[in-house]
Symmetry: C2
Subunit: 366 residues, 2 copies
Amino acid sequence: MSSEEDAYFSSNPPPRSLPEHTTLASSFINTHALANRRVVLITSGGTTVPLEKQTVRFIDNFSAGTRGATSAEYFLQAGYAVIFLHRQFSLLPYSRHFSHSKDCFLDFLSEGPDGNVGWREGHDSAKVRDVLRRYRRAKEAEMLLMIPFVTIGDYLHELRAISRLMRPLGRKGLLYLAAAVSDFFVPPERMAEHKIQSTDAVKGFAGDAQKQGSEDEEFDNFDASPRVPRSKRLVIDLDPVPKFLKNLVDGWAPQGMIVSYKLETDPRILVHKARYSLDRYQHHLVIGNLLSTRKWEVVFVSPGREDNWLRVPPPASMRKGGETGWGDAEGRPLRAEELPREDPATEIEELIIPAVAELHDVHIGR
Amino acid sequence: MSSEEDAYFSSNPPPRSLPEHTTLASSFINTHALANRRVVLITSGGTTVPLEKQTVRFIDNFSAGTRGATSAEYFLQAGYAVIFLHRQFSLLPYSRHFSHSKDCFLDFLSEGPDGNVGWREGHDSAKVRDVLRRYRRAKEAEMLLMIPFVTIGDYLHELRAISRLMRPLGRKGLLYLAAAVSDFFVPPERMAEHKIQSTDAVKGFAGDAQKQGSEDEEFDNFDASPRVPRSKRLVIDLDPVPKFLKNLVDGWAPQGMIVSYKLETDPRILVHKARYSLDRYQHHLVIGNLLSTRKWEVVFVSPGREDNWLRVPPPASMRKGGETGWGDAEGRPLRAEELPREDPATEIEELIIPAVAELHDVHIGR
């Protein structure tokens, strides 16, 4: 362990549940290692960056956890045991089909004449039965372990601890990093004890927070002047988050296969950034995707191979006269505005996971 | 409408669903106004402040929505019709009893011998039946309308539109503002189009975001030096959010009763800040609470009245020798460290809502 890594982990306290989580993970991993089974650690959802010790405000990453939760189901289908390290209250495998719907979950339930509460007729009752069966099967076979995190600090501690526990799996371990992880954090020694008051923002947040007066109502106006005076800036001193990918590759999980995601919004830089990340960390696969088209296509970038675009079948609206291909959109990135607003009929993870598993075969066999 | 208010609302676009929401709210309010019923608009959950147009990152306020969702149930119990303006995926009335549990919601379900999916035996089946009955009653009597928001901009547009629609209710309208609303926002003209790259952060986020190079890996280190060089600051130019309370009082809902919450972490400034807010906005009630004790006590601060502390019954651990009062803690703020980690047996909203309704009686009668 490098001293810098040491410094990070000793100055940022672990989450309270870490010992409980490592006990669970250790027993889970050992069981499956003995059974000679493949184990994937999936990270999912966004990390928070607390701005105060008693946290009222934080910086967050947009992520419902769809990619991670969906991938988990397909990994289970492919025979993997799954550790699902996820942001608390983000989407979970199986329950995702119902949990973040526009309806309240009570709308799915009704009281029968016998007073028993059951699934409401007609509300996808065949679907819930199927999902429930698959969920129970995974749980009863002890193939699925769910571990929550909230902050960037929690995430890094959990990732380090669990990936180290995966060493006995050797090449059969897979790290599939789908979480949206912050690049920055506020070190504890610079974190304000109490809720940051608006006046503090005027004079700079870090360090000064306790010295300010306590009226937070200074900005009581609808001042719409286009240039905001410098004095109204909220200045947040953030430190860069340690580049844990490097540590994963070099020390925490040196034999396992490591897959990371790269989410961008600008199509012009996506592949370049994915390749750059791969060159830098020397891991095994970067899956690139764009925020606006991420359910339709992704690109696999891996060492010594051509970029490989995976794409779900085209929607009816883009097929012309019985054509089954993507027509004009063949061979170039999709554009958000040519896609229907509904989700595609095929979940792209149905294509991604078998393709990852194939590369994992190669990794194990080499 | 002041021109400053006008400037804010014309430069920050309304949420796409606003027309649909106002149609629903208008019909809901008119029905209850005709029935001479009281209507409360409850705001609940935290607002987000997007940092990018294609939002990957945002600043958020900590709020599960417990206060708002719980209050909604007690307002319904008190005979109010409830408009529940809430952060998407935050806690909802009734479903809150089950939705943010540590268990996956599929753990509550099981498949019967007939293949029907029902509530699992022993998993609070009496409780779910009771909750479901109360939910259905509220929905069937059309006493509950749920409207979601995400960003601070959505929130302000929805609040303005719905509170204006409440005018026909006169003094029978109640605004109960329990949402955790950001003090700051990033105006659209200064928002980066794409995901902010880490190098942009070096040189300051606002405005320059598109001009930077595209490698985001500049901070690849575990640099734990205690002083971060100035060049590694993330500087976010934020504008103060318009003080909408002033507008609510003066123009949007001039006759209704307006209740706001003040959440602090520092007990020394709580009452002072609540009183200050009341003096400034001239509304009717500020309910003060501390992050660490908010389920145990709150303070009512209202014009021309003494501060009024409401407190749930003490936990067994704080009663000494058969005493039923708070003992040593009587007459001073509670301290987090003397309270048990479990939630209190009584929901404090069971005390808050009747007390608010009583003040609303006075407001209507005057």
